[in-house]
């Protein structure tokens, strides 16, 4: 499970009945996300996001190229939307259970309409799930789910995500000890050359339409490799999507005053810093008992979507992307995102393909599992019909 400073303090608070009741009282109240990182899918914003995940697909970067596609110009890649809600400064308000650690463990995305470059995006958040789980160790635990809706200027639904976090009272150090023996990434020149060959082998389907009829169950997608991860990758990620807790000067002062739990004092210097630094700072991660800094769940989700956007091509449409984040991705790790077609089906006017997805690291562990459903153009039925309806 990834740690992402949802209620950013690694102190372990208790989950009391009162706090749970208070939180349940907040359910199903849709609130505007008022301080997103990106309000508009600008060409620059899309560019920064693409750079953030290391994706060179011209559909999302090159307006001259994209004008030759059915979209008529650059569109935002599906997980660009992390820059609207995840990088916002107010997504996490009202998530309750103060002092209780939160681990982002799943994103279930649905995409309905294209977002053209220059289009504003309006997002709302709503607490929709608070399910008690039997913790692996003693102590209460909940899966808390927030639903974010993304709408266009006219109020039409562009996309939706169900974002889940594991809220648990157990001591973080106890959990972290299980990573004490992890063999962090170390690479010879030959190792790196192999990974570079995998980068070179990446295929962007692009303008060559992938037809539904030509896809076979059991078909394997061309993998997408990411890493070996360094702090620069984490920085590139927040450059692309924003950061919930990184703030400067007056902004940081106001934040510290309003939400003291978001900072820890750097033990070396006494300077308050957001605990989010566990994501790029080995020292701080060590303070939490981790062998190294580690990624954000959302980062993993976005990277895994790159597998799908490469494969569906300019004429395809990623309709559903449902991924769980398991275990840690540490700095120094390399992850290969792989997919296999598991079924084909028709629904409404569209023809869909389901893909089982896995992210596998250099230790053969699986830090990401999930499935995606894409609409593809059909020789018989024609191009993908927009908006794409909800699929399960």
């Amino acid at each position: 499970m990834t740690s992402e400073a949802t209620v950013a303090n690694p102190r372990y608070g208790k989950i009391t009945d009162e706090e749970v009741a208070k939180l349940r009282g907040r359910m199903f109240k849709e609130r505007v996300i008022a301080v997103p990182y990106n309000r508009v899918a600008t060409l620059d914003g899309i560019n920064h996001y693409m750079r953030g995940i290391g994706d060179t697909n011209p559909l999302y970067l090159d307006d001259a190229y994209a004008q030759g596609t059915r979209w008529g110009g650059v569109i935002a890649p599906p997980c660009f939307l992390y820059s609207v809600h995840w990088g916002s400064w107010d997504l996490r308000r009202g998530w309750g259970l103060p002092g209780v650690h939160g681990l982002h463990n799943q994103d279930r995305w649905q995409f309905f309409r294209p977002i053209k470059a220059g289009a504003p995006v309006h997002a709302t958040r709503e607490l929709v799930g608070l399910d008690e789980k039997q913790g692996r160790l003693a102590g209460r635990a909940f899966i808390e789910t927030v639903r974010v809706k993304f709408r266009d200027e006219a109020g039409q639904m562009l996309a939706m995500v169900h974002m889940s976090s594991y809220r648990a009272e157990r001591d973080a150090a106890k959990k972290a000890n299980k990573y004490g023996d992890v063999k962090l990434g170390h690479y010879t020149a030959a190792d790196l050359a192999k990974i570079e060959a995998d980068y070179d082998a990446e295929v962007i389907r692009g303008a060559e339409t992938r037809y539904w009829e030509d896809v076979n169950e059991g078909e394997v997608l061309q993998p997408v490799v990411k890493g070996p991860f360094t702090s620069a990758d984490m920085i590139a990620w927040v450059m692309g999507v924003g950061s919930p807790h990184i703030r400067f000067g007056r902004y940081f002062l106001d934040y510290r005053r309003r939400t003291p739990a978001v900072v820890v004092l750097n033990p070396e210097t006494g300077v308050p810093e957001p605990v989010e630094r566990v994501h790029w700072d080995n020292f701080m991660a060590g303070e939490l008992g981790m062998p190294a800094a580690y990624d954000y769940g959302s980062h993993r989700g976005a990277l895994s979507s790159h597998l799908m956007t490469n494969w569906v091509g300019d004429d395809g449409w990623l309709a559903l992307h449902d991924v769980q984040y398991r275990g840690m991705v540490f700095l120094g790790d390399t992850v290969w995102f792989r997919g296999t077609v598991t079924r084909k089906f028709e629904q409404g006017p569209n023809s869909f393909v389901e893909v089982e997805i896995q992210g596998v690291n250099q230790r053969s562990e699986v830090p990401l599992r999930g499935r995606a459903i894409a609409a593809l153009a059909s020789r018989a039925r024609g191009p993908v019909v927009m908006p794409v309806e909800e699929v399960q």
Binding site: A232, D233, R247, F248, E273, G332
Partner: protein
């Protein structure tokens, strides 16, 4: 002893493996003198609420003229204004600012910026920049080895091809031995703070004054008047990250972009000795380990950040009806993680433009760290509303007005 030269590793295809300034490389560099090249891969092309807000956050500037659309609508501009610091995103944060300037493996130290601003940049504008190398002069460096003072002239245009600003950016390219670099900062320890000291700095942040909608009239300004100072820090890695979130980073790249870059410019990456993984040497700006590898007690800031903070000092003071027209700052010494910087300004001169009769005020700027080192000396000039010019008209050419 006060440090005179900036010991920053930054820019260009420089890396920790030292290159030399050989005659061929120098000739290649000099062949570019006078040639204007477009910057084609900037961080910021479009000025809009998002990019303006990101740039304001990048320097910790909560001025409502850049941040609050309702407030900005009531201003004379009728819309959000870009803070002058945003323009760093059109050149400094570009991926191709340094391309073609050669001397690979030779350190580049950003030593000064001289900005001249001609007109404001507004919500809805686009910006693009060009670069011209104006000089590559040999100089005696502070440490052994040859140094080149590399001077560049950047011009910033809007979508109507109007010149909105110009920046003369100097960098020192120097060969130097590791031994010399390790000696100078070896004794500096990372600063530490008690909660009371942090609270005191917080009070200084709160004491910041944004002149805003209350015009500062030229007639009312007094010589020797002090500007409300700005405090920065204690500097942390998150603050470095907000800078590059808003302005861009020359060398931070991911995935396919990183692979492509390393192949194009091999010296931009250095394998981490602990993992073997190639990493951008730019990480001296956020990674204490890498900073230690080059003899620094901690990671340290980018020179351009200091220049941007200086603009913040001035725009706070100038007010919505004033306009920063000139900023000339030098980056001296290091600003390490954990250091606190106070930027002060004093009015040194009041004068009237020869051509336009606009009222100008010159200020001296001093940026001092908590150890008492002056790490950013400089000057700035602001045009203010006056009886003769209640509303400034743009473009303003302060150099022509100086006569």
């Amino acid at each position: 002893m006060k440090t005179q030269e900036v010991q920053q590793v930054e820019d260009d295809e420089s890396s920790n493996t030292y290159g030399t300034i050989n005659p061929e490389a120098l000739a290649k560099l000099r062949a570019r003198i006078g040639k204007e090249y477009p910057i084609e891969e900037p961080h910021i092309r479009f000025v809009n609420r998002d990019s303006i807000h990101h740039a304001a956050r990048a320097i910790g500037d909560a001025n409502p003229l850049w941040n609050d659309p309702v407030y900005a609508k009531k201003s004379r501009f009728g819309k959000l204004v870009a803070p002058p610091a945003l323009l760093y995103g059109a050149h400094w944060g570009a991926w191709d600012m340094r391309r073609g300037e050669g001397l690979p493996g030779v350190h580049g130290l950003h030593s000064s910026d001289h900005w001249t601003y001609y007109q404001p940049v507004l919500d809805g504008d686009e910006v693009h920049a060009t670069k011209t190398l104006t000089a590559a002069d040999e100089m005696q460096g502070r440490w052994a080895g040859r140094s080149i003072m590399q001077k560049r002239n950047f011009k910033f245009f809007n979508q109507k091809d109007e010149l909105v600003a110009r920046c003369l950016m100097n960098a020192v390219r120097g060969e130097r031995s590791e031994g010399k670099s390790r000696g100078k900062y070896a004794d500096i320890k990372k600063a530490t703070y008690t909660p009371e000291e942090i609270a005191a700095i917080d009070s200084e942040i709160e004491a910041e004054i944004v002149r805003g909608a209350n015009p500062r009239n030229w007639e009312d300004v007094k010589l020797e008047e002090s500007l409300q100072p700005l405090v920065r820090g204690p500097l942390t890695v998150p603050e470095m990250m907000t800078w590059i979130q808003g302005i861009g980073s020359p060398h931070v790249r991911s995935g396919q972009f990183w692979l492509r870059y390393r192949r194009q410019s091999p010296k931009v990456a250095v394998p981490d000795p602990r993992t073997g993984i190639p990493e951008a040497v730019e990480r001296v700006h956020w990674d204490d380990f890498m900073a230690a590898e080059i003899g620094m007690p901690a990671a340290y800031d980018y020179g351009s950040q200091r220049g941007a903070w200086a603009t913040h000092l001035m725009t706070n003071w100038a007010g919505d009806d004033g306009f920063l027209v000139d900023l000339d700052v030098t980056y001296r010494g290091m600003y390490f993680l954990g250091d606190t910087l106070r930027i002060k300004g004093t009015v040194s001169e009041k004068w009237v433009g020869k051509k336009t009769g606009i009222g100008y005020v010159d200020c001296t700027i001093t940026g001092i760290n908590q150890r008492g080192d002056v790490i950013m000396p400089g000057h700035a000039t602001v045009a203010l509303p006056s009886k003769a010019h209640r509303k400034l008209q743009f473009p303003i050419d302060v150099e022509a007005d100086r006569g």
